[in-house]
Symmetry: C2
Subunit: 291 residues, 2 copies
């Protein structure tokens, strides 16, 4: 186990509250009075999660949208966000993007902190929501026999990233201003047995969902909707940042919104994901881990 | 107005939710169901808010305690914290301090995120609490005639900092492991007209409280309890990080806990704070602003 993995495991050991379902990669869920809160916090660093040459307005958008996507996967309605902001090279552009994304989702900025520091810009965002359905969907609920579904295509963010990187002038919106599928999450929450958003790549995130439930997912790669040419299907299944919702439903149940069935839940095998009959491992094509 | 001040002002402009009382230097207050939430987020950077040579366990302690102190000033009971952690030089020591402070206050770690990045370590913490009394004390409620009170001495953190810096071996606990006065905040919340914690220096924080209410505080410096020798009284009134609670009570009312009356609320004068009859300005001895 890496030093980082050991630290995260120790943090999880500290997070003994029953609502702390999956520190670092999942939301916290907390009952208060007659409501259930859902909380998530993401940190992003310049040079790791965004590039110095990226438009700070897009950085602000993604910081907020990626956290709201975590709430979407819990069927939660956003109540507000708190921002931890380290001053950067173009704070006015950041503010513009922040205003855009908060207005787009009708989510208030509740508070936060600003700091001046040397070194790469580090940003943090906490999003707070209320559950629209209880129990709040977990990522651990998949049952043997359940269908595995996804809300839409993967690979669009990859194409957007490449357009931006190569300056082709092609549309990069899917990468620079991803959408949080809040309405889809609300519609799905009462029906799903498990749900999460696909931020790190379909196969890697599916393997996490399988591990959480102690099952294996058999995925039919041809059934996965992709935004790329067919030749790049394998990459599209491994690239992240599309923020589609991945969920399981009892076999035979149809989702209340447009979605695509891409696989089936099996009893646990050695591999967490079996793709077109081939067991995948971390060393063998699941995707990239980045913290 | 500095670039930073302009940014903060613009952020406040975005924070139009009625619960977003004072972005950056105050908590957010949010009604949900039959409860009222109190939220605060602080960011801390190595080299600015803590030094590379400081014990990471103490850094963890202060990160949590300073946020809990914000909740204390609202009379809020902590429900949990979310941590944004950038890996540093001694993560195990950080974890030890985090465990210590969470156990001390009986507060759960609910979630968070970890990142690897180059450059100085940047940390963020969000603390969530529930109001024990409503309305939640504001920092803006001081009325003309109200007494101005403080829970205990200032200057202890300054002495602790010096002990650490100079390696004298004297006790540095007041600086390295400050306490959040939660029980005091709960006892005071039903009675105070205004309350805040003193994190940036008594005179500077008192001036903020005066500005928020549109009043002037007349402070009797000799009445302020100090932890330092008498010769250093002026410094003690300006050094921060003691996390005492500063509050106002209607004239004649005694607080339910041990506290010290240090002044009186006057109608607004040109200066926000008048110390022993001398009007203070930012250029003239209020203290230091640091973001």
């Amino acid at each position: 186990m890496s030093r980082e993995a050991a630290f995260i495991a120790a943090l999880r050991g500290l997070a003994t509250h029953p609502g702390a379902r999956g520190l670092v990669d999942d939301c916290a869920v907390l009952d208060i009075g007659d409501e259930t809160l859902v909380l998530t916090h993401d940190a992003m660093a310049e040079g790791v999660h965004f590039l110095p040459e990226q438009d700070p307005a897009d950085v602000a958008w993604k910081l907020v949208a990626s956290n709201l996507s975590d709430l979407a996967a819990k069927g939660a309605e956003p109540l507000g966000v708190l921002l931890g902001y380290q001053f950067g090279t173009d704070d006015a552009r950041f503010l513009t993007g922040l205003e855009d994304v908060l207005a787009h989702y009708g989510v208030p900025l509740l508070g936060g902190d600003t700091i001046s520091a040397t070194g790469p810009q580090v940003l943090g965002l906490t999003a707070l929501g209320r559950a629209t359905h209880r129990p709040v969907p977990s990522r651990a609920g998949a049952k043997v026999g359940d269908g595995l579904w996804i809300t839409g295509p993967v690979g669009a963010a990859m194409l957007g990233f490449e357009a931006l990187r190569d300056g082709t002038g092609a549309d990069s919106t899917a990468f620079s201003r991803p959408l949080a599928l809040l309405a889809e999450g609300w519609a799905l929450a009462p029906q799903v047995t498990a749900m999460m958003d696909v931020s790190d790549g379909l196969l890697l995130d599916a393997s996490r969902m399988a591990r959480a439930a102690g099952v294996t997912f058999a995925i039919d790669s041809a059934a996965v909707p992709i935004a790329t040419p067919e030749a790049r299907r394998a990459e599209a299944l491994r690239w992240g940042e599309d923020y589609q919702l991945l969920f399981t439903l009892p076999d035979g149940m149809e989702p209340p919104i447009t979605a695509h069935r891409i696989g089936t839940t099996h009893a646990a095998e050695e591999a967490l994901v079996v793709l077109d009959g081939i067991p995948l491992t971390e060393a063998n094509g699941l995707g990239y881990e980045h913290s």
